[in-house]
């Protein structure tokens, strides 16, 4: 049953050292404010799961939160590498990290299996790929009807999933519009779900009947954080801050510059600061 609370409390109550956590949003609606709150709370030994772990996971890994990363496509989309992730893997800075790499198809199927309560996902993939040689969690299964060999991966079942969405209504139902990504599956697959939203409205009586809505009883906590996806974007509210993604290439290239940036923009910042960051990116309603 969804409860409304400040983001600081939502993270404190739902994310613990050693948890398996997914912060999902497929380029759109990335829950940056929640990730920054996790960094401020100095959590440790997290297993972080994500399709396209981009800048926010680079930040979490660089700040030492992650014990393991389960992912597909590590990069800053359209820009280049994740330099903090690479520094952790290559040089164990700030400490060693375990990585489990998958394809997008595998991760999408694994989330869907998690949402469906299944132990694993079966799909046609990894043919001719080298990943099964380095990832023991990619296995093969034979179709009992056709004899075809298919790929199998474990279902994703996070302890907690964090997402960002456009709206919640006063009952705690959550509305997601635009590129909906894997967030519904990530929430339904998880034991707990924390949602940051742009705004809280009275009700959803005027929306299309087939929109992506998470009923209040699938959500644990909701925090209102306008701008909470920045530098990602929220369809209908503000645009993607592409300049910030380009800037990250420079910031993340140097350990000292990275730490100074994190100190100024994350450690000494608050959830409420996100609203100002998107002020110049707002779209006409």
């Amino acid at each position: 049953m969804a409860r409304f609370m400040p983001l600081e409390q939502a993270v404190r109550e739902n994310l613990k050292d050693g948890d398996t956590a997914a912060f999902e949003g497929f380029t759109h609606l990335i829950p940056t404010a929640a990730a920054h709150e996790a960094i401020r709370q100095d959590l440790k030994d997290l297993t972080l799961i994500r399709m396209t772990p981009d800048v926010v996971y680079d930040q979490m890994i660089g700040m030492g939160l992650a014990k393991k990363l389960v992912f597909s496509y590590a990069g800053n989309p359209g820009v280049g590498l994740l330099r903090r992730l690479r520094d952790a893997v290559e040089n164990e800075w700030p400490h060693a990290i375990e990585v489990e790499e998958h394809s997008h198809a595998a991760m999408a199927n694994a989330y869907e299996a998690g949402a469906a309560g299944l132990p694993c996902a079966i799909f046609r993939g990894y043919r001719g790929a080298g990943l099964p040689e380095v990832n023991p969690n990619i296995k093969a299964i034979t179709c009992p009807f056709t004899g075809e060999e298919l790929a199998a991966v474990l279902a994703v079942r996070p302890d907690v999933t964090f997402i960002h969405a456009q709206k919640a209504d006063k009952k705690g139902n959550v509305l997601i519009e635009g590129i909906v990504g894997i967030q519904k599956e990530a929430v339904l697959a998880a034991k707990r779900a924390v949602v940051t939203v742009e705004e809280i409205v009275d009700d959803f009586s005027d929306i299309h009947p087939n929109l992506c809505v998470l009923p209040h009883w699938t959500v644990t906590a909701i925090a209102e954080v306008p701008g909470g996806a920045h530098p990602s974007y929220t369809h209908g509210y503000y645009d993607r801050d592409n300049a910030s993604y380009l800037e990250w290439e420079e910031v993340s290239a140097d350990r000292d510059r990275f730490q100074a940036w994190m100190e100024e923009n994350v450690i000494n910042a608050k959830p409420v600061d996100f609203a100002a960051r998107v002020a110049k990116l707002k779209v006409a309603k």
Partner: protein, 108 residues
Amino acid sequence: MSDVTPNEMMTIAASRALTNEDVCFVGIGAPSAACNVARLTHAPDITLIYESGTIGTAPDVLPLSIGDGELCDTALTTVSVPEMFRYWLQGGARHHWLPGRRPTRQVR
């Protein structure tokens, strides 16, 4: 002796067993009647799900079928049939969601 039928008594008894916190996967007939009696009396916030994909429905008239338009018109949201069975019924019934995050009852 009243003219209340056994079916009506059963319907009312079933409705009294339901609460605001329940998430019900609802079958047509007496179960649907019981769930909606509960919703219209002591459990206004009960969540009713029909297999047509309608989640959080609040029909003004009892549906004749699981796919009456009334169910979609009054639903919080409506999903596809594969999603209904795969995530909302199978997922909820078969894995360890916290209490209140899975269909708590199948009223059939």
